[in-house]
Point group: C2
Chain length 730, copies 2
């Protein structure tokens, strides 16, 4: 009977994809407005698809290489399951597909949203939001589709196993398709992040600072690239990031569930299905929630935000109720505790979002202080922003800490120790699933941001009337708020997902040990390897804090985080430099550009950003892929364990710091533009423009890229676990 | 016989202090120059002692409170050794004394160095360096004195113990006087760091940027406060920091030695004495090295640097040779391996210094790139500096990782596991001792920096001729180089010391467990507690990476690091703001100040910095002291373990990032001032001035303060171990 519940997952998947298609079709039916509007949208669409094409080429090569390596590991060395190369590929393909559809929807929507704003604020909001929902639903729909297919296929083909082993093996294989999603996300986030900020910083440095023309001015040659960048970074990048978190949290939890309730028959199956079912229910609720979003004409920012929040909170509230019954139905012995873990995860997600808003919104003290510090020049703006960003890590880190403890304790009934640890770790995984369960609608609010932003850009460049501009500005401003909280949410869920993956790493170690070394009688922590639990392996490998290999791994993990951020930061600097040179060149050589009589060469700027992003993303990407493998080969399983926890903890903090500093600088600038501390054009305003420019790579490149690094390092360790177990040097 | 070797320690202590006195006396004999020079020096001296007095008042109160708490823990609750309150007090007093003498020497020297530069470059260099050596020798001399006294006293009083227990107990008590040094260092580094940068940033923002007058211009009211700050931060702060590292590395190693060679009679004694003897030999070599420093007239920067390095490298080379014989004499069974650990530590210290130089000196690519990025304005300067700083963490972290592995492996003969772990951890401790062994002379080169800087300031303000200015500039520039490498060295040694302390934490857990719970028969990892090793306790407390308490501790450790940095960063911002207001006020209200006909109110600025530093340092200081206690009470020993390793790894990385970003910005500015990319007064120069101002709190406040945090958190955990063992909630 339990098995038949699983059918909810593919059904939900089909529903989500169908609604995505429905929203997309509805959107394409609305008019794209004047000829100028269409032309501009066309520019952006062309730029975006040129970029995607180029990126997918690179990704294809990388995927072929990695698949070859995995195949050799599986079929040549025998240190990996034979299904892994295929699982890896589908994860990557599905994520790429989601990115493609999301981008398509977003770039098709922007001019239409601008046009809808000529009618009313409500039309604009709904069109923008539902276009964002395309991305949200495609992402969750494709994740659920991938899970449905593989769970069915593996159930069918893996037959020669007894008891709990079958489900364990299926889950262990499925986790690795997260590696495909992770690799795809790496390129999407890092490449997209570099692209968008090279264009943005380049456009601002010459346009705003030197030529003194406003943002989104059609005379600025980099302005189309800047608009493309919003889609590339915040739609495709963010989508790929959360695609992975959603998939990995579900699959890691399934694996942890299979281990925690091993040999308990239907209960084990229930534990494996629980994360999938909860994700499916959350997706259904997201669809309903999307329909609830609407507003009235002349709504204030607060009202607009409430409109979005109604949908989000509706889904969150109902998932709390429905998951109780779902868990009860799945018949887990400690289902009330597990339910508590879900709530802990959900609450943590909301809490982190709130804290992000507090630290980055100009309605609160921190951002106002940064704005005030502009009175003594740009240096104090930077110092205040860095100080605030560093401080802002405290609450999210505390929230995650509390969520970990609570979700563990709820699941174990506040017991610690070897007997209950499996259950507790399952609780942590389930908390991550809880946090992400309503991703369909949260991601819709995220993807809404760049659509509204681009609609504003389109309206500006097409010289639509001030009434329309006011409406698009209102939508854009709302998008900034959701973007900030969305970033906090993405980081928080990345950290929790990575933790769940890390705990499942040891399950993989155990299975690989038994399979590869084929020594079921070797004593592991005084127990034959064949009967040893993952906990015995933790003891056996001395994954404790006095093991120098663990300590060294941790130092390297922290190193990876800082180095990766430095690389992406410098990448933006270099790429932006090229953009500045090009924009200056165009201003110098194209006559009539400043008078608006000649059109700048937008395509050239798009090309520069695209090429710059491609070139610059290779080094950090390769580093992120190589480090776990090298550490595994040199320091073995203890080194990897230290590496991963070091990366997760410090990466989480650094990501929050960067995202919040950047967000706060951005809003401090906007606060001054609203007329405070001298308003637009004052020295104080110039100082905050500098802060905002510094913040761009902080919040949109280096910060979000860390989400990927955190998860990718764990994933790469999971899929190469056979190497670390078999060939390590120390 | 072995016991008689110990006499080398007090003898060296007396020698070091005598030479410090000798250098001081020699220095006071030289002339302080013209009346103006004396007057300015008088201002700085008065400001410095006003600050110290104020700081020591606060520290006294804190010390009394903490002593009261420790006394209650020892005599009331019985969860701490009765000697600890006293050990705590002497550690604090001796560190404070060292700071006092160092400051006195530095502030007495500056005018004299300026005056000596009227004679020749060599006179200037020697006088400045030997005045710096006063600080170096006082620090190591007082550490060795404190060790001599306590080792003798405890040997005398602790008699009722058998076998290895006596030495274990003595060492465990002695480690806690590091807590006194740590607390004193906290206030010296954090308070000093805020003081110096509030003055510096305040002086620069109004002086350089608004009023367009050069640095050290006597018309700037904040200039005396700025000069005082150099002494307060870089002499007293740095000295207290390294006082603690030197003491803690020796004592933690002694404790680890006592545990590793437990019950081996004279061998155990040898292991305990080894770190002390090596420190003593290093100190003797430092004294000789100090005498080797001299230069010729018209020496280039390279030659000047070589002059200093001759002394440093001489001491380092000889310590390698002599420590071999010392260890052989002490009769440790694996003395060649231990010797290898010493070399690993020494090499790591030098390597970190070199890497710091590469990333912060304008002779290399990174800093030149930052300077070049100024062509596109301040925003790209900040982005490039942050990117470079983040990247620059890679090499030091790798070096520390390799040093940990090597020093562990050398000491154990490349064995891992329960049997040899004690030996390996001793190796890590000894590596820290090796790195710090020649501290006498390395600290002399550090303290030399602010003396030369102040001499330059004095020469500028006294209008000495261009020939003299050229000489003081040369000395100052050399000081900048040594300051940068000195910072890297201080951070690296802090990390290694903290690691040694962390490993000794578990020894303390073991002893506390047996003593406090008085249950020697309780089974710990299947062994009666009375016979259990610290390793059994690691297993018993589940200090492994799957324990949620450990993971939570790690998140909180990372949080503490980021929060602490944010607090100190914002503290500088706020205090600098006050200084800016005051300087602006003086420019506005004191007639004739800009014409040089009226003297500004220097004292008022000194007072503002002093008060600002006092007020601002309280919150971060209390947080640093409270977190380990609270985490211990809530999460117990596993939580503390995670907390400490999280703090050490991420704190190390963040400290390096901040120090190197700051150093690179500073030198990028100087590089442009030398005439590159437009030179002084150009837009590029203005952009780098902003970078430099941002870098000030990075490199001189938040970065160095992290050294303290890293060590203090471990120390605080060590001294409150009784609470965590007995009263923890989870």
């Amino acid at each position: 009977m339990l098995n038949s519940v699983f059918v909810l997952v593919p059904i939900t998947s089909v529903l989500a994809l169908s609604f995505a298609y429905y929203f997309y079709k509805q959107m394409t039916k609305s008019s794209e407005g004047t000829e100028t509007m269409q032309r501009i949208a066309q520019h952006v669409r062309k730029g975006a698809s040129a970029y995607l094409k180029q990126q997918y080429k690179v990704v294809l090569i990388v995927f072929l290489c990695i698949t070859a390596i995995f195949s050799y590991m599986a079929y040549g060395l025998g240190v990996q399951n034979n299904w892994v190369p295929f699982a890896f590929l589908t994860g990557g393909c599905f994520s790429a597909l989601a990115g493609f559809f999301g981008m398509k929807a977003a770039t098709t929507a922007s001019a239409r949203v601008a046009n809808a704003c000529r009618d009313s604020l409500n039309s604009g909001l709904r069109l923008a939001f539902r276009s964002g929902a395309v991305m949200g639903l495609v992402v969750v729909g494709l994740v659920l589709a991938d899970i449905s297919i593989w769970f069915t296929v593996l159930n069918h083909f893996i037959e020669d196993m007894e008891g709990g082993y079958k489900l364990m093996t299926i889950c262990a294989i499925m986790v690795t398709f997260g590696m495909g999603a992770s690799t795809q996300a790496l390129f999407a986030r890092v490449g997209g992040g570099i692209y968008t900020k090279a264009a943005d910083v380049g456009a601002d440095l010459v346009g705003k600072v030197e030529a003194n023309i406003p943002e989104d001015d059609p005379r600025n040659p980099a302005t189309i690239a800047d608009n493309v960048g919003d889609n590339v970074g915040d739609v495709a990048g963010m989508g790929a990031d959360l695609f992975e978190s959603f998939a990995a949290s579900i699959l890691a939890s399934a694996l942890l569930g299979a281990a925690a309730y091993f040999d308990m028959g239907d209960v084990q199956l229930g534990a494996v299905l629980a994360p999938m079912i909860i994700a499916a229910i959350g997706t259904l609720l997201s669809i309903v929630g999307i329909f609830l979003v609407r507003t009235r004409e002349g709504a204030s920012q607060k009202e607009l935000l409430r409109s979005l929040n109604i949908g989000v909170y509706f889904s969150a509230a109902l998932i709390v109720v429905l998951s109780y019954f779902a868990l009860k139905f799945l018949n887990l012995p400690n289902f009330v505790g597990i339910w508590g873990s879900i709530i802990a995860g959900l609450a943590a997600g909301i809490g982190i979002g709130q804290s992000t808003e507090y630290y980055t919104s100009a309605s609160y003290k921190p951002t106002i202080s940064i704005a005030k510090s502009s009175e003594t020049g740009p240096a104090t703006v930077i110092i205040a922003g860095v100080g605030t960003g560093l401080l802002s890590t405290a609450i999210p880190l505390l929230i995650v800490t509390v969520a970990i403890i609570l979700s563990y304790c709820f699941a174990t009934g506040f017991q610690f120790g070897a007997d209950t640890i499996n259950m507790g770790l399952y609780g942590i995984g389930i908390a991550a699933v809880g946090m992400l369960s309503t991703l369909g609608i949260t991601l819709a609010t995220d993807a809404y941001g760049p659509i509204a932003d681009n609609a504003g850009g389109n309206a500006e460049m097409s010289n639509l009337g001030p009434e329309v501009r006011k409406r698009t500005d209102a939508l854009d401003s709302l998008g900034n708020t959701t973007a900030a909280t969305g970033k906090g949410f993405a980081i928080g869920s990345a950290a929790l997902t990575a933790l769940a993956l890390l705990t499942s790493y040891f399950e993989e170690v155990r299975m690989m040990f038994v399979k590869v070394l084929d020594a079921p009688d070797t004593l592991i922590n005084n127990v034959p390897a064949g009967e040893a639990t993952f906990y015995d392996f933790v003891q056996h490998y001395e994954i404790h804090l006095m093991n120098p290999l663990v300590i060294c791994g941790m130092f390297i993990g922290v190193m990876a985080v800082f180095m990766f951020s430095g690389m992406t930061m410098n990448a933006v600097g270099r790429a932006a430099q090229k953009m500045v040179d090009e924009v200056r060149r165009q201003f110098r050589t194209i006559a009539g550009i400043m008078e608006g009589t000649a059109e700048p060469d937008y395509a050239r700027c798009v090309e520069i950003s695209t090429k710059g992003a491609q070139r610059e993303m290779m080094k950090p990407a390769l580093m992120a892929l190589a480090i776990p493998v090298v550490v595994g080969l040199v320091l073995g399983v203890p080194g990897i364990s230290g590496l991963l926890i070091g990366t997760i903890t410090s990466g989480f903090a650094l990501a929050i710091f960067m995202a919040n500093s950047g967000g706060a600088w951005d809003n401090a600038k906007k606060y001054i533009e609203e007329g405070n501390f001298g308003g637009k054009g004052s020295e104080a305003h110039k100082a905050t423009v500098i802060g905002d420019t510094v913040g761009d790579p902080f919040k949109d490149t280096s910060g979000p890229s860390l989400n990927i690094l955190i998860k990718l390092m764990v994933m790469a360790s999971v899929v190469t676990v056979g190497l670390a177990v078999t060939y390590h040097i120390l």
